[in-house]
Symmetry: D2
Subunit: 362 residues, 4 copies
C-alpha cells in the first residue's frame, strides 16, 4: 500500500557473508548469503557483534510459523555496529554501536503513534520472519531511526542483547500489562527465559512476593537466585492449590502466563484473586477454556500482547544503572561461526540447562 | 469472624408489611411479612418509595441463583425514606430521602478500601439475595452510612431508581472497564436494559460511534433514540462481519458484552481491534472458548466485574446536571400493590416491550 | 547536531507567491515571497486552502516573541493540498488534502517517542516562528509524515482549521492536563478563543458544570451558547467569591487558566477545591505568586503545557462524528488576499467581537 | 453537623497516666493526665508501645500551629495494644497490636470515599493537634476500624512506628504524587527524615538515579547508605547547576521538595526537566515565586499533598517482605518516661545527628 522511495543503487558486486538460514521444518544451515544493502532511505545495515536465539526460533524450526519461508535468515535479537545508513537516517551513522529491537517501528502509522509498535502497519515483528534477520554477519534494519538504540559507552553488550526481545517481552507483556505494583503477590507460570525475564523485571516494581511455577527444578533453582520468593514444582498438578495455600486462599494479584498452553492458562484462572490480573505472554497454538461462569463477577483483567519494545529506553537506563541484570540469564557462550552448535545447545535445554545463549562475532 | 454489636431491642410488637417473596423456582407471592427493624448499630430501615425489577430477579425466579432461599424478599433497587437508623449511623436521619445501592459496603474491609465494594467481606450483593430486599414496603439496609445516598432536592426519583444497579452496572462493568474514550468506536452486544445503560453512560465519554447489536428490532429502535449511531440485527449470525465492514476491517476499540452467553462473547472476540478492550457485563452460566491462538498477539484486554457502585456519586451528579437521562429506560409504571403484575410485564418483555418498570409506593 | 540529507535541487527558477510577512514589532505586509521547495527528504510543500490567525500571532506582532525575526512568514494553522513531497515521505502524495499541525514532530527524538511533540528536538512550534508559516499561498512542512493529517472526505475544512492549534491547545493543556471527568465542576478563567476551545472540548468528558469567567459580556454570551452552565463577569474582582458561592464553598474540581496573567492564575488558586487541578494554558510573561502556605496540604495539582497535538487524530474523529463543533468559534471570513484586513479585525476583537477568523484561498 | 451516639459511661474513677503536654510556645511537660476512655462507639483506646517525634511536633512547640492549644497531648505516631473498643468497632478487639495512622479516617465522607483521608470531614490530622495524641501511655483513636492497622505477627514494631506518618508522607506526597517510575532521575531537596523517607520509598519504583541535596554533610552521608546515587551539598547555592551538569542539562524527571521554604522550591523549578514533576512535601509558611514565564510551556506538573495514609497497607506489606527498611531512619532510642529528653535530642539534630527517635513503653 505504501511505497518507499528506492535509492538508486549502482550495480554493485555481490558481497558474501555467513548466515543461519532456515530451509523448512527441521532444516537449517550456516551458509553463504549476499551481504544486505540499503534498500530504502530509512534503512541501516548493521554488522552483528552479538546475537542470541529465541524460543520463537525453535518454533520456526518446527515449522510452526508459516510466515517464515525457505531461505530466510533467522534471528531478531542482537547488538552491532552500524555499517551503512540510508539517506533519511538521521539518528545513527556508520560506526555507531547499536541495540537492535526485535520490533521494527515506522513511527508514522496509527499503531506506532499509539506506542503499539508490534502492530506497525509496515513493521512489527519482521526480522527473521518476513525479512532476513540477525543471525548473520550483517543485517538490514528498516526504519533504523526508530528501530535501533544507541549503546551507551562502556555498556555490557552481552547484557544488552537481552534487551532486543526477552526483557521487554517479559516486562511489557507480563509486568506492565499485569500492572505489578509495590506490595503485590505475583505468580509467574513458566520459568523459561521469558518467565525469568518477567521475574527480573517485576522486581522494578518491588512486589512483596514473586512465586515461580515450573516443572523443572533446575529452572526453579535459577529463579530463586534471580529473586523468586517461593518456587512451586507443578509436576503433581497441584500448583494452584499450593498458591492458594500460600495466599490465605485469596490468590495472587497478578498471574503471568509464560508457557502458552491451556493447562498453564488454566492455572492462572485458578489462582487469580478478585480484582487481579492475568497477563498472558505465552504464544498459544489453540483456544483455551475461559471459566466465565466463575470469573464474571471477580473483577479480573486478562491481557494479551505482542511486545511493543516501547520500554526499551527505560530498560536500557535500568541496565546501565544496575537496577536490572539481564546478564544473569546467559548460560552459554558461542562465537558466530558456531551458531549451529548454539542451536543444538539451546534446543536441548532440558539436558544442557540452557537459558539464553550469547553468540559473539569474534 | 467479625461481630457487630447488637443493640438491645425491647420486645416489640410484630408490625406487618407487604412484600414480594420468593418461594422456590417459579413461585412468588405478594404477602405479609414482618416489618424489618434495626439489628446492627450501622443499619437503617428505609420505607420504599420506588423500586424496580432486575433481570437478575428473573434469574432468581428460574432458580438459577442458589444463594436465594425460600422466603426471601426480592429486590435490590430502590429509592425511599429513612424510617429509623441505628446508633452508629451518622450520615442519615429519619425522614431523609435516599437512594439505595444494590451493593452493601462496610467501608472497612480490604476490598472496600480498594473501592471494590462488590467484594466487601460482609456486604456486596446481599439485598434480595442473602438478606431481604427492596420489593417491599420497608427494607433494612446494613452499613447505611456507606450504602445509601442522599436524594438531591427536586430530583426525579423514578430516574434515580435506575442508579441503584443498572446505570452503575452498565457504566462500571462496560464503560469504565472497557476504557471508553472520546473518538472511540464502541460496540455493545445486547440491547437489553443493561446494554442500554451502557449505551447511555458510554456517551459520558463521547465515543465517535456506538454500534448496538441485538436480535430484537424493537430494542434496536430504542437504542437509536438513546444515542446508538448504528444498529445491527444479529439474527443472521453475521453481526461480526458487519461490524468489520463498518470499521474498515479494523474492528472496534471497545466491545461490551451485555448478554452472558458464549455466542455473544464470541462476537466480541471477533470484532475487537488490536489494542482494544472486551468488557464483560453478562452473567455467564458456562465457560466460553477464548481464542488465544488468534488473540495472544493482539494486545487486547478482557475484563470481568460485578458492579461496585463506586461511581454512584458521579452518576447522581450527572443525572442532576441532565448529562444522563436514565428515565428513558422506563417503559412501564406500577404501584407497589401491583408488583406481581409488574413481574408479569417485565418477565414477558418480548411481548410487552418492557425495558425497566418503575414501581411506586402510592 | 542532526543532519538531514539534502536532496540535490536543480537550479530552478524562483517562483513567487504572496505571504503575510513580519517586519519587526507592529510591521507586517502582504507581499511577494519565493514559493517554498522541498529541502529535506521528509518535507512536503502544501498549498494553503484555509488558514487562520492566532492570539500568538498578535503577540509576535507586538514584538513579544524574540525567536521570530524580520522577514518571517507568520502562521501555524491551516488546511491545504499537498503540492510536492520529499523522497522519504510515505504517508502523503501530491493532491492529498491535509490538516497542518501547529507542532512539527520528527517522531524520532526522546520527546516525540514520549508523545511530547511540543519538545521535539528539531521540531516543536517552528512554523511561523523559526521557519516560514502558513499565512501564505504555500508552506513547507518538515517531517510531513508525522506533522500532517489526512482530511477525511466531505469534512468541513473551515472547522478542521480549528484543529491545527486552538482545539488541541484547549483540550490538551486545559481539559486533559486538568483531568476533567464526568460529574466534575470546571471553571475556565478566560473566554477568549482558547478558553472557548477548552469549553467545547471539556464537554467530551461530560462535566456536570462549566463555569466561564471573563471581563467581556459578549464573550460570556458566546460561552453560554457553547455549553457554559454558568457565566461570571469578573470586572468587580469578586469572581472567586462567586465561584465559591456556587460550589458550597468547596471550590471547583478543575480550574483552567486561559489568560496568562498573575491575577487570573490567582483566581484559579482561590477557587480550586481540595484534591483539584489547576491547568494552565495561558502564555505568561512574568512570575506569579504561588500561595503554598495555603495550598501545601490541599492535594492539588498544577500543570503547564505547550500543546503536543497528540490528540489531533481523536479530535478529527470527534469532529467528523459531530461530537465537537469547532466551526462555532468562527466569527469572520476572509479570502487570502485580505489577510491584512483579517489581522485588523482579529486584532480589534473588543470592537469586532472576533473569536476566530477563517481565511480561505479563494 | 454529624452526631455520634454516645455510649453510656458508668461514672468511673479517674485513672491517671503520664503524657507529654503542650503548654504554649516553648513549654512542654511530662505530666499526669486522665487516661482516655471511649467517647464514641467507633473509638478505641490504645496503650502505647512505641511512639516517636515528628518535625511537626517541633513546629507546634514553636507556636507555629495555632490549632494546637494549651493542655494538648502531642504525638500522632505510634504502635500499641488495643485496650478497649467502642460498640461499633468490628475490626479490632482488646489485646490486638496495632499501628496508629497519623490520619484519622471516618470512611464515610466524600473525601474518604475518594481515598483523600487527609481531608476527612471529621478526621484528617487531628491526633496531637485538635485532640490528644500518642505521646502518652494511652490514646483514644476515633474511627478505629479505619484508622488503625493490625501489626503482623513477628513484625519489628520500631520499624512499623515509621509507618504512622513519615513513610507514607515521603511516599504519597513525594514518590506517588511525583510519579516516580523505573529509569527515572529523581532529585530530593532536603535530606531530613521526610526526605530520607522519600528516598527509601522511591526505590520501590527503581529509579535509575536518586540525587539528594542538603546543607548537611552528615545527612548526605546517611542518604548514601540509604540508596542515594549522588549527593550534593547545596551550601554554595549552586545545587541546581550541579544537577543540570549531572543530567546533560536536561534536568530531572522528578524533583521532590522536602524542606518547605521558597529557596528549595526554587531549586526544584530550576532542575525539573520538560515533562517532569515537582512534588511538594514541605510545609510552607509563605508564598513562593512560581516562574510561569519559564515553565508555562515546559509540560510540568506540580503537586501538593497532605499525607492520606491510603498506602499504609501496601507499605506494611513491603516492610514485612523486607522491600523497605524504615528502621534505618532510627538513630536514637528512649523509654517513654524519657520523652522530654527525646525531644531535646530530636530538637537539636544538628548536634545530635538525630533522624528519627524511637520511644518505647518499657
Amino acid at each position: 500500500m505504501r511505497k518507499h522511495p528506492r535509492t538508486k543503487l549502482a550495480l554493485t558486486e555481490r558481497i558474501v557473508m555467513k548466515a543461519l538460514v532456515y530451509h523448512g521444518p527441521g532444516k537449517r544451515a550456516w551458509e553463504d548469503k549476499t551481504k544486505p544493502t540499503i534498500k530504502e532511505a530509512s534503512d541501516a545495515v548493521v554488522k552483528i557483534a552479538r546475537t542470541t536465539i529465541c524460543g520463537t526460533d525453535l518454533h520456526i524450526m518446527k515449522g510452526d510459523v508459516p510466515t517464515v519461508t525457505d531461505g530466510r535468515i533467522l534471528g531478531h535479537e542482537g547488538v552491532g555496529i552500524v555499517d551503512e545508513v540510508g539517506a533519511a537516517v538521521s539518528t545513527f551513522k556508520k560506526g555507531d554501536r547499536v541495540l537492535i529491537s526485535c520490533i521494527t517501528s515506522c513511527a508514522k502509522c496509527d499503531a506506532c503513534k499509539k506506542g503499539m509498535y508490534s502492530h506497525c502497519a509496515t513493521g512489527g515483528w519482521i526480522l527473521g520472519n518476513t525479512i532476513d534477520g540477525t543471525q548473520a554477519e550483517y543485517v538490514r534494519i528498516p526504519f533504523a531511526d526508530t528501530s535501533l538504540y544507541h549503546v551507551p559507552k562502556g555498556a555490557d553488550e552481552d547484557a544488552l542483547a537481552m534487551l532486543s526481545d526477552i526483557l521487554p517481552t517479559g516486562f511489557e507483556c507480563g509486568v506492565l500489562s499485569g500492572a505489578v505494583k509495590p506490595g503485590d503477590i505475583v505468580a509467574i507460570v513458566g520459568a523459561g527465559p521469558v518467565g525469568l525475564a518477567a521475574l527480573l523485571t517485576a522486581q522494578l516494581y518491588s512486589p512483596a512476593q514473586v512465586i515461580m511455577i515450573d516443572l523443572d527444578d533446575n529452572r526453579l533453582e535459577v529463579a530463586k537466585t534471580l529473586g523468586a520468593t517461593q518456587c512451586i514444582n507443578s509436576t503433581d498438578g497441584k500448583s494452584a492449590d499450593r498458591v492458594l495455600a500460600l495466599t490465605d486462599k485469596k490468590g495472587v494479584d497478578v498471574a503471568i502466563e509464560a508457557v502458552g498452553i491451556p493447562a498453564t492458562f488454566g492455572v492462572c484462572q485458578d489462582i487469580v484473586a478478585a480484582g487481579g490480573h492475568i497477563a498472558n505472554i505465552g504464544v498459544h497454538g489453540k483456544s483455551v477454556e475461559l471459566k466465565l461462569e466463575k470469573l464474571w463477577d471477580r473483577n479480573i483483567t486478562i491481557t494479551t500482547r505482542l511486545v511493543d519494545t516501547v520500554t526499551t529506553p527505560m530498560l536500557l537506563k535500568s541496565v546501565i544503572a544496575r537496577r536490572l541484570e539481564p546478564r544473569k540469564l546467559i548460560t552459554h557462550e558461542f562465537v558466530l561461526d558456531d551458531l549451529m552448535k548454539a542451536y543444538d545447545t539451546f534446543g536441548d535445554a532440558a539436558k544442557t540447562k540452557a537459558l539464553k545463549v550469547i553468540i559473539r562475532s569474534a
